[in-house]
Symmetry: C2
Subunit: 341 residues, 2 copies
DNA sequence: AACACTAACTTAGACGTTTAACGCGGAAAT
DNA sequence: ATTTCCGCGTTAAACGTCTAAGTTAGTGTT
């Protein structure tokens, strides 16, 4: 049918007008008469021209109106994380309101920044496993907003994780408690393990570490000591990792009577196992979560947890990004009356 | 620092070579000496040139090596659907093997095809709610592969839903059973309801209808009649919808003793509610699922379901897109006999 | 009648790459 | 010594669009 892809020039020739006019019909309605514009658009639809080639358009304009949302963790992690999807929804709606488009990138190759270097900015959700990606983001000339982790002096959206953790720990802990912590990505290991040495202390200040600080501070105030071997590293907020760790923990001796978990998913898995084992919650075992997912509310007993404003984070991140890339918006001016007129 | 973005020409001038050579250094290693290439790349890194501008590159080459995965349902649904995420993983890895990149598009605006018209092709997962999008896909000059639904003569990937449904229904049904069906998107309604009239009969042949056909065929063979008011429409494979429908169903009278569910998520929710209500599964109530997610295997009692090759579907869809295989392929499924039927 | 303004187009580069076609010097073949 | 060939680079023309500046005709102003 079409031997080759239609171009603006082809269309212009067929309609007997200049390419500029066609272009304007699509992009600047004020530059031509309404009648002509409508005729042109109708003709375009008829002959099968669906609009300007995006690559050419982006090249020429220098902007694409596309924002990339880089999901640090793999999709499979996202799946077990209802928090992420709510966040994405927030971003999505905020972008839509501003006429921008959203593209998701899942995975953590650092090449992504080059592959989609036509986007207007990046929202990066969660600390990427790939450290190179972080470095690339740090030096990217594009606008970058990070969420749930920090880069240099790039804007970032977050809650006060330390305070939140401190808060919930204060609620849960009493002097004399035997406390364990199910931490998330405290170290850079792909498998579950306990933190036997002090390796974690100097690791970058991720949200996990902030939360840990909060927990430990609260514990200290109750004169509770939590040795490193009571602190678990889970590589992901994943049911399987959680189940494994939970099994080990609940069969260890002495069994803790409080477990502070850095995600609801983990906490719930621990809860279920505990119930299966006939352990009474909270009488024999207190459990706290983190995030505030719905499932935590539905579970019996319902989970004590920290609710994050997930969608709100998405909206805020988007606003932060857009406020900086709004370049082309028309700014207000002001008359300053001097003495020469 | 950089007053403006670096370009190939700038770099060429600085290094005293032609733009073609720089370009070749990035794209065609065989076109220049190894020494020179490495020097160029090193210099580029040093002066902060991170590679060719993608928009220009795509424009010139006419290809981007990017494939768009269009997720029909909202991202929140996708992300909480283990089946979808496994599928995505399949696509992702297959693309990576072929040096292609994946971009996810979530939402169902038909404008997406234009917004990202630089991609090399579209994989469309699931029937979009937006019918315009389907039309756009149908006439798109780009490569299009559909999964779990069909468009015209575009290649599509699927399992034999009718056969699978027939299979599991045969396994579950006995003559005299009182059967209900929890269907997925049988009609075009955003809320849960029963199918009182015959409205669904002529609706497009979605996978849901194929499955329904399979169920009904098996029922017929056992001389079981399933009236339309025993067939439920759920708009999404969502826990909440499922819970609501389950509650209504289990309190209805006479209570069915078999429920055929079109997804594991739905089946599990029904199972949990039934157990909560003290209904014995499978003695008093048999339940079958569909998909074969892990949670179905872990549940107690474990769920009898159809295992789909979700990741395999992703791989096949990708291959089809990359023209490595030809058109319509129907993948195998497997009945996993659990304890619920 | 001359001038100024405006609406509605058109012209003519640029945007940053890629790549076919073309040198050019030197090694191998005749 | 001439030819052939090859490795290594360069030149220059696209790719499809946008937009500042220019043109024209028509409308109002003085």
């Amino acid at each position: 049918m079409n031997k080759t892809k239609l171009t603006l020039k082809d269309v212009a020739e067929q309609l007997g007008v200049s390419t500029a006019t066609i272009s304007n019909a699509f992009n600047r309605p004020d530059q031509l008469s309404k009648a002509k514009r409508e005729e042109i658009l109708a003709q375009c639809k008829k002959i099968g021209y669906s609009g300007p080639n995006r690559a050419a358009q982006i090249l020429r304009k220098g902007t694409s109106n596309i924002v990339a949302l880089v999901l640090a963790d793999s999709i499979s992690y996202m799946v077990s994380d209802p928090v992420a999807s709510t966040f994405i929804k927030g971003v999505s709606s905020a972008l839509q309101e501003n006429g921008k488009h959203l593209l998701l990138y899942a995975g953590d190759s650092d090449s992504i920044l080059n592959v989609v270097d036509f986007v207007d900015g990046f929202i990066c959700y969660g600390q990427p496993r790939n450290n190179n990606l972080v470095k690339e983001l740090a030096v990217s000339p594009k606008q970058v907003v990070t969420v749930d982790f920090d880069i240099d002096k790039k804007p970032s959206i977050n809650i006060d994780n330390e305070k939140a953790a401190y808060h919930i720990a204060c609620h849960a802990l009493n002097e004399g408690d035997n406390v364990a912590i199910f931490g998330l990505r405290l170290i850079d290991s792909p498998s579950t393990c306990r933190i036997y040495d002090n390796a974690l202390i100097d690791v970058e200040s991720s949200i996990a570490h902030r939360r840990l600080d909060g927990y430990l501070k609260a514990a200290e105030e109750q004169n509770i000591t939590i040795s490193n071997e009571r602190i678990w590293h889970l590589p992901e907020s994943d049911r399987h990792f959680a189940r494994q760790a939970a099994r080990e923990l609940l069969t260890s001796s002495p069994r803790p009577n409080v477990v502070l978990c850095m995600s609801d998913i983990i906490a719930l898995e621990l809860l279920h196992l505990a119930l299966d084992m006939g352990i009474k919650v909270p009488e024999e075992l207190k459990i706290t979560g983190f995030d505030g997912i719905e499932e935590a509310e539905r579970s019996r007993p319902s989970l004590t947890t920290i609710c994050q404003p997930s969608a709100g984070k998405g909206v805020e991140a988007t606003k932060a990004l857009l406020n900086m890339i709004s370049s082309k918006s028309t700014l207000p001016f002001e008359l300053r009356v001097g003495e020469t007129a």
